[in-house]
Structures are given as structure tokens and as C-alpha cells.
Symmetry: C2
Subunit: 601 residues, 2 copies
């Protein structure tokens, strides 16, 4: 009875072609010059077929069945093994991977488009290839030639998978206090000992080998974050001929019983003097990881988009079908015993919120991803690369935190539109809530992202990264200031763009007196920033849509809906910034005044 | 590993005695004159022991095991039967029930205090006795003497339980379109035929009989809500000696697989010419139910309070224990490898939000309930009863919708404080999210409550109910306008109280032109109203706390924490009204402009 996922191809085309002009962008990027519109569309089309036909049908059943653990062996739910084999066979594992090591060398944004569809159809499934990404990037960026040759092709083609082993039971956000040890062996390898938790795809039955990237401490390592090194620890030792040899002393101790993403195995992994190989310089492990953190976090931002898109599709279908009450203005479907609930303003508010979040979320993810295209596209212009990198750095914590927060809200709206049926598992709406709840926690919680945004990205650059961004918006406002159709968007957008800077200044001044001021403001500042970014994205979409309508190009109804959704966004969602701004003004004292002992009696 | 529930007795005493002065209130209510403070406290203390000792320990296991269905028979999870027997034996079923029919005749508020503890310890368990309430009130208010004698004592003592059979698969919020039929039998009874869904406690193994109150249509009934009648349909026919006789043709067809409250059986109930007895006048069934809807809905409001309280307890414990990072102002616990996370402003914001919601929610539930005490307390003063009834009517949709929305938010904050561990079932935090998600749906969704508030309670009374309420607040502001310590609360409270009226006026004017304006404003108006009500409750609590501190009475640290939490509320939560007010100003057009077909392409 669960809704049937359909890839939102029309809107994906809008974002990729009308908004971001991927084809002309790629003509300027040496590495991606062959990626034309036809190629992009055909890959996306094939991806849509695979996600709709193979992944969506095993989403509900995967949730019900979950992963099974038996004496170190993890079995994925029915159908996952077959779907994964097809995923590898059809080449979806290697879309954006390096052609030197088995990849197809497509731009990251093409991979993100596929990720969106995969994640909406079946987020749990997507966790398995998704986690390989971190391992691949680590080896690409910091591995020796030997390490690259041994691991990358297998990982890129998907016959092996990877993990990132960071968290320990006492150390999540605070990796500085991890305890896993790495002791040198005589042969130059290391003996890794310790227990990691929350290891997604840590053990499963989809691939012939699993390559763990493990954070651990060398014997002489300094305390804290500056004493952490990275190691490659394969489940089976690779053989010279590219196969797998003897089993390493790394084993899955158990899997977690979770709220959601139940078909994704979340493992406790025990390293018992497991053989590992240092990757990157000693004690610089965290820095090595930061080099690709931004690109990896786009993947989690996508989960927010997926939750918004999936729950919107389900809710819209139900709202058009379900009959209850009459419209307040009189019967809309007098031939039926009641009106479809989409006539009710409160239901429309839920649906339009989902729609506005999904569509701006899509543009944000793909736009962020095009910055990665530019960074990796082999362009000679260092300034352009730097600008892309700065923009991506600034947008990353917003994308990760704001899209997952709004995605979670949208998922809850999906349940709400279904009424009591939303609470029943077979309808599929509550699963989206459960699956996507993790997105606000892993890869750095909302609170951690907020500190990254306000602390590292904004205040530590003396506002430079924010100004770089608001200049883009300012330019847009200037360019459209005489456009009468755009006035409804430009005035509030210019106002929020200015207020954002003023607010930042005020926080910065206060934080110089008391660093807790930044901590107190951070989450509201991040949410404010998210709404401000979405205001620009909606104004930008409205502009492109209006131009298309004026030029008589394409389907006018589609573009008119864009303009109307932008109007909804500015009237019904952007005002939330008012609350966040005033809460920030409320300052830090009311947060810090209460002693820990006085919270409860 | 899940946190251990402790009844928040200190705060319950504050609300019952310092704030509401239950003992002196009851001295003015003839029916409750014997209910003095000692009696209240001893019942609450016994209730706390039962809930902490018997119900909390089977909360996680009940969630994991769930109810089992086998060929019409429903088995509750391990320990539920024994706990229920003890619940009946200790007299908790009959606390506030009518002494003429086996009840202890205590004031409703004493029952609510027990409900809070039961619901926080184990919401699923509380659903079984909770659902009897509706059946009892229906029979009390509308039953014949015979019906009362046959059913009430058994229901009150808890050896039988009751249900409310309203929903059908195509009819939830819109009861006007139900199809279940009632055809007269020769003996004066009726043959009830139809299928009801979402029947909580519809079938289970806790009691020897189940008494269904069923909404159905007589053969000649008018269409819509004016053609619905109420019937008593027992699972087993009562015998003359108070036992149970032959099985009626009513049966459980299946149970739902749900997101949460898994230990509460949610049943499909099939009536196959089941024998039923008309209760109340024909075709007036919905009106009969409305007579006690307000009191019943307090029960659901309590669920919001429970979610806030339970998740706060769990999160506070974790935030004090869990070590991660250092305080931004320097190490707070230098002897440890990191600081407890309660030092971080963002964590405190989550905890204080939970605390502010839980404590104001408690006061709101108990305050609403004292209106029921007054209505049912046998007082002669009809005006006082009318005032209590009006206040209760006005507060009910706010209590139901706002407390469940804020309770859900608080539950999510509980997960967030735990980080990744919040997503793991054994810690118990995600269960609160899943269990309480239903509270926003059943007993009228948030959207339905919002329409009830703005449409029926405010606009249909030309604002009279709102003015009655804002007068209470105005009086409070006047009384404290010269109190320097209260100025920080009185100024914003008076402002919001006035703005609320102005906002209502504006909506009323617009709704006269276009009824959809009310629909468009309703949910934001309800949320705005909730924050406005909480502002009064926090100012009121601060006033009482300040008086206690000034008088040197009681534990100063407790009262100081109240004042500080009030300060937090005014600076960090009340500003959310700014967003709701501006969203309401955004009007209806952006909600209605988009055609149903244009929501997606």
C-alpha cells in the first residue's frame, strides 16, 4: 500500500539544465568536456529505472526484515544482494569514480543525481555504496601508489566496499579522545587493537571484501586530535592477483537495533591486533579526513532532500485521493461524499512546505556539487577553484544541517497528511521519519554543523566566507532590481541578505567578549542561514522560470508552479527567520545561568 | 541501558499545591471536600511507586515484543497482564470514578497526576485504562439506569475495559461519512454491522470483558453528522449476576503494525450483526460525544507532557554523564578527559526547551483539569461552572495540539542530546519519539484542533472565549505591574496578550471575506496561542516562585530554577510567535493558488 516512488525527472532536468547549465559548465572543465546533456539525461534515465524498479520495491520489506547478525556474519534483507549485484553490473558504483582506477570519470554532480534517486527509493541500500566513498577518497588523496593499485579499482567497481571507522563508544563528536591503538609490526604494517561502534556497512554479505579506514593512535602519539593516524585494515588480505586471501583479525561483534535504516548494518567492529597499513602521515589522520569532509557531507545533505522528496510524493498522492470534509468555501467535488483533502489550506501548507524544501534542497545539493565539479574538473584557473572551494566550504554545514532538519520536518508532514494512517508502517510514511532521523546525528550533529558554520566558516574568517556568499546574492538582486515581476522576491531577499550580515556582526562582537555567545547563537544562526540561502535559491528559480515563460520555452504550467512555490516560500517559510533572529538576540545568559544540579529536583 | 523514570514529585507538588492550591480549591467543592493535601500526596506517592516499579520496567520490553495477534486473540507483551492486575488491585483504575458505581470519587486532577506518571513510565500500558474513560463517560452521561448498573462498576474497577469505535477505513476526521449500520431487532436491541479501524484496546487479554461504544447509522438516519447514533456493544453479553455470558458477534480482525505504542493493541474490529444497545437519543451520537470531548482530550494533552518529561529526564542524565569536547570558555572538568556535554550552550538549549515545555505543560494539564474539578465538584454557583467550562473549552484544543507538538519536539531533542546513541533502541530515547508521534494524529489531528480553536472557539464566539482568557492574563499583568522583579515578564506578556487580540481581529475580518483565510491561519494561530498561554504560565510560575523566595519558604534553589527557566522561556521560546504572526499575515493566496495538478510534474 506504500506509495510508489517515481524519480522526479522533470524537476531534476530543471535543476541540472535550466538552473545550473551543466552542459556548458562541463565544456569549460577539461576532465568533463565529454559530458553533454544527452549523456547526463541517459544516465539519469537509466538510474531512475533502476531505483524505481529494483530499489523502491525492497524498501518496505528491508525495513521490516532488517539485517540479521549471527556469530559475526551479517545478512542483508531479501533482495539486497541481487539488487547490489545489478547495481555493480550496471556500473552505478563507478559513475563519478576516477577512470585511472576503474571509474567512469563522470562529474560528481551526475553521481549526486543518482544518489538522490537511490536515497529516496531506498536509503538503507544506498548506505553500502555510500560508505565506500570515504574510503575511496582517503586512498585517492593520501594512499601510496601501491595502496591505490591494491584497493581503488575494486572499491570503485563495487566488488569491494569500504567503511570509515571513527567512532568509539565513549567518543563520537569528540574524536580527540579515541583509544584504538596501532602498534608497529616488524614488516612495516601495524597491529590495530580496539573497538569501533556505529560502523555503517561494517559487515555484510554484498561484497567479497570490506576495506576499513580506521582512526587509531600510534604508541608515541600526542594526546588529542593531533595524535590520530589513519590506517587501511582490510577484512581479507588482498592477494597479489587482485583476489582475497586470509582473513584479518577484524570482526563484527554485533549490529545495533535502531530506530530506522534497519536494512543498513550498523556494526560494532572489533580489531584484535588486526593488520593495518598507515595511510597519510602519522598523527595527521584528522587533517587527511578534513580534505574530503566537504564533499562527503554533500552525501548526507542529500538524505534531507530525499526525505523531503519521498514524503512529498507519498503525501501528494494521498492528499489527492483521500476524501474528508468539504472545502470551507463549499463542495469542491460535489459528486463525491467528501472533498479530497488537498482542498484544505492546512493540508496545502504541509504539502507546499515539503515541496519548497525538496525543490530548493535539490538545487542546493546539485549547486554544491557543481563546486566539486569545478574543483575536480581539471581547470587551470586557481582563482575559480578557490572560489568554488570557499563557496562549498561555506554551504556545506548549511546543506548538511539545514537540509536534514527540513527533510525531517517534511517527513513528519508526510505522516501528518496521512492522519492516523501515517502512523501505520505499511503506508511507508513513518519509515521516512525513522530512516531520516539519523541524518541529524551522523556526520556531525546539527549542533556540530552549526558550530562549524558560525565558528570556523564565518567568525574565523572574519566574515569573509559569508561576504563572498552574500555578494553573489547582492549581484543577483542588483541585476534584477528593475524587473517588475521579480520585485516581490528581490525586496525581501535584499533585506534578508543585509540583515544576515548585521546579525553576524552583532554575534561576532559579543563572541569576542564571551565565546559561549557563539555557542548559544549557533543553531539558530544555522537555521537562519538556511532560510536565507533558500530565499536566494527560490528567487533564482523564479527568475529562470519567469524567463522561460516570457520566452515561451517549455511547459508553462511547470514554470508557473515554480513561481507560485517561490511565492509560498517567501510568505510562509522565510518569516521563520524572524524567530531565529530574535532568539539569537536573546543571548547566552539564560542558557548558562542554571547550574547543572538545578535542572531538576 | 535506558534511563530510569523517576516521578517528578517535587514539581508535581509545586503545581498542585503552590500554583493551584488544590486543598483550598477542594474545600469549596462539596463533592471533593475530603480531598486534603495529605490524601493527594499519599495517592501520588503510591502512584509514583507503582509507575516507577511496575510500569517503567516493562516499557522497553513492551516496545520490542509488541502485541501479538493470532486468529482473533490479542496477547499483550510479557508483564502487562500482571501489571494490569496490580493496577486494578491497588485501585488506580477507579481513582476519579463515580463512587455510586465503584469509584473512589477523587477529583479529576488527582487522576490526571496519576495519568501523567503512568503515561511517562509506559504510555502503551496507559492506553488500556485510558480508553475505558470514553466508554465510562458516555454511559454516565447518556446511559439508562439499567445500562449504568450493568456496566459502570465493572468499567470503573477495571475488571472490564472499554473502547470508542469511531473511525472507519475511509472516515477518520470526517465521521459524517461512516457506514456502520444498526438495524433494530425485535427485542429492542440492534444488530450492528460494519468494520471499525484504529480501535485502541479493541481486543486484549487484560480484562474479562470489553465494552465497545460504537458509532453507527440507524436505517432511517439522515446523511452526515446528524445521522449518527451511539451503541453499547459488549464483547461478552453481561449476565444478570454481573458475570459474562455468551460471546457477541464482534471480533478483532487484525492489529496494526505501527511506528510506536507497540504494546498498545490497535485493532480492526468487525461487527457482524453484533448485538448492541442504543445509548442516548437516536441520531444524536456525535452531540453526546461532544459533551465529554473536552475532558477526554486532556488525556491526550497529557501525552505531550509525558513525552517532554520523559525525554527531559533521559537527556538530562546523559548530558551530565557524557563527556565530549571542552567548554568554549575553557575546561570545566579538567580532571576528566573531556567536559560533560551539559557545559555546551547548544545542549543546554535543548535541555531547557524540554524542561520549559514539560513544566508549563504540567501546569496547563493540571490547570485545565481543575476546571473539570470545578464543573464536577457539585458547586452551586452556575456562573463559576460556566466560567470553568468556557476556560476549559478554550484551552482544550491548545492543550491537545500545542502540548503534543511541543512534546514531540522535546522527544526529538532527547534523541539529539544522545547523539548517535539516541537512534539506538536500547537507550529508550527514540521510543519516546515513536510513541508520541501518534499524539499529533489521534483524538483530532493538530490541524483539526487548530480549526476547532480558531473556528469554533474563537471566531464563532466573536472572540468572547479569547477575551475571557486574555482578561485573566490582563488582570495578572495589572496586579504585578509595580513589581520590579516581575517587570521582565510582565512587559512581554502584556504585549503578547494585546498582539494576540489584534491578530485575531485581523484574521476575523479576513475570514468574513474568505473562509479559507481561517483555514490558512489556523495552525500558526494555534501555535501562536500556545506560546502565548505558556508565557502566562511561566510568568505566573515565576511570580509564585519569587514570592516563596521572598517569604523564605521551601527550597530556594528550586524556586530560583523556576525563575531562571521562565527567563529562558521568554528569551528563547516566546520569540517563535514572531514567525507565526508573520506567517499568518502572509495570508491564504499562496496556499490556494496552485492547482492540485500543478503540485508535481
Amino acid at each position: 500500500m506504500a506509495f510508489q516512488y517515481k524519480a522526479p525527472l522533470r524537476d531534476m532536468h530543471f535543476v541540472m539544465h535550466d538552473m545550473l547549465g551543466l552542459e556548458s559548465l562541463y565544456q569549460q572543465l577539461p576532465k568533463f568536456q565529454d559530458t553533454n546533456r544527452d549523456l547526463i539525461d541517459s544516465i539519469v534515465e537509466a538510474g531512475a529505472q533502476f531505483c524505481e524498479g529494483e530499489l523502491a520495491p525492497i524498501n518496505r520489506s528491508g525495513d521490516e526484515e532488517g539485517c540479521q547478525f549471527d556469530n559475526g556474519v551479517v545478512t542483508t534483507p531479501k533482495g539486497f544482494k541481487e539488487a547490489y549485484a545489478k547495481f555493480v553490473e550496471l556500473g552505478f558504483a563507478s559513475l563519478a569514480a576516477d577512470p585511472e582506477h576503474g571509474g567512469q570519470g563522470l562529474p560528481p554532480t551526475v553521481g549526486i543525481a543518482f544518489s538522490e534517486m537511490m536515497g529516496t527509493a531506498n536509503w538503507s541500500f544506498g548506505m553500502y555504496p555510500g560508505l565506500s566513498h570515504g574510503a575511496i577518497r582517503t586512498i585517492e588523496n593520501h594512499g601510496t601508489t601501491d595502496q591505490k593499485e591494491t584497493y581503488l579499482t575494486k572499491l570503485n567497481e563495487g566488488t569491494w566496499s569500504g567503511t570509515m571507522c571513527l567512532t568509539e563508544s565513549h567518543a563520537g563528536s569528540d574524536l580527540g579522545i579515541i583509544r584504538t591503538k596501532a602498534e608497529p609490526n616488524a614488516d612495516g604494517s601495524y597491529a590495530i587493537t580496539g573497538t569501533k561502534i556505529f560502523i555503517s556497512a561494517g559487515e555484510h554479505d554484498l561484497t567479497e571484501n570490506i576495506v576499513h579506514i580506521v582512526l587509531a593512535r600510534l604508541p608515541d602519539a600526542p594526546k588529542g586530535t593531533k595524535g590520530i593516524s589513519l590506517f587501511i585494515v582490510p577484512k581479507y588480505m588482498p592477494t597479489a592477483d587482485g583476489g582475497v586471501g586470509e582473513r584479518n583479525t577484524v570482526a563484527c561483534g554485533s549490529i545495533e537495533h535502531k530506530m530506522g535504516i534497519k536494512a543498513s548494518a550498523t556494526c560494532v567492529i572489533n580489531f584484535d591486533s588486526a593488520k593495518g597499513y598507515l595511510i597519510g602521515p602519522p598523527n595527521r589522520g584528522l587533517n587527511c579526513m578534513f580534505t574530503f569532509m566537504n564533499t562527503a557531507r554533500i552525501g548526507t545533505a542529500v538524505q534531507g532532500l530525499c526525505a523531503a522528496e519521498g514524503s512529498f510524493q507519498g503525501a501528494l498522492e494521498y492528499a489527492r485521493d483521500r476524501l474528508a470534509m468539504r472545502a470551507l468555501t463549499g463542495p469542491a467535488a460535489p459528486e463525491k461524499e467528501a472533498d479530497p483533502i488537498i482542498v484544505h489550506p492546512a493540508v496545502r501548507q504541509l504539502l507546499l512546505t515539503q515541496k519548497a524544501f525538496a525543490e530548493a534542497g535539490r538545487l542546493l545539493c546539485y549547486w554544491m556539487s557543481t563546486q566539486t565539479d569545478i574543483i575536480e574538473g581539471g581547470v587551470a584557473d586557481e582563482e575559480a577553484k578557490k572560489a568554488a572551494d570557499d563557496l562549498l566550504s561555506f554551504l556545506t554545514p548549511i546543506g548538511k544541517a539545514f537540509l536534514t532538519e527540513t527533510g525531517y520536518e517534511a517527513a513528519n508532514h508526510g505522516v501528518q497528511v496521512y492522519g492516523g494512517h501515517g502512523f501505520i508502517r505499511e503506508w511507508g510514511m513513518e519509515q521516512i521519519v525513522r530512516d531520516t532521523r539519523i541524518a541529524l546525528l551522523y556526520e556531525g550533529t546539527t549542533q556540530i554543523q552549526a558550530l562549524d558554520l558560525l565558528g570556523r566558516k564565518v567568525l574565523q574568517t572574519q566574515g569573509a566566507m559569508l561576504r563572498n556568499y552574500t555578494k553573489i546574492v547582492h549581484k543577483f538582486c542588483e541585476a534584477n532590481k528593475d524587473n517588475a515581476d521579480m520585485a516581490q522576491f528581490i525586496a525581501p531577499l535584499a533585506a534578508i541578505n543585509k540583515e544576515w550580515g548585521d546579525l553576524t556582526m552583532k554575534i561576532g562582537m559579543k563572541a569576542m567578549q564571551n565565546p559561549n555567545e557563539a555557542g548559544a547563537a549557533a543553531v539558530d544562526y544555522m537555521m537562519y542561514s538556511g532560510y536565507a540561502v533558500f530565499a536566494y535559491l527560490w528567487a533564482w528559480m523564479a527568475k529562470v522560470a519567469q524567463d522561460k515563460i516570457a520566452a515561451g520555452e517549455g511547459d508553462a504550467a511547470f514554470y508557473q508552479a515554480k513561481v507560485k512555490t517561490a511565492q509560498f516560500y517567501f510568505k510562509k517559510l522565510l518569516p521563520r527567520t524572524k524567530a531565529h533572529a530574535e532568539i539569537i538576540e536573546g543571548g547566552v545568559d539564560v542558557l548558562m545561568d542554571l547550574d547543572s544540579e538545578a535542572f531538576a529536583f
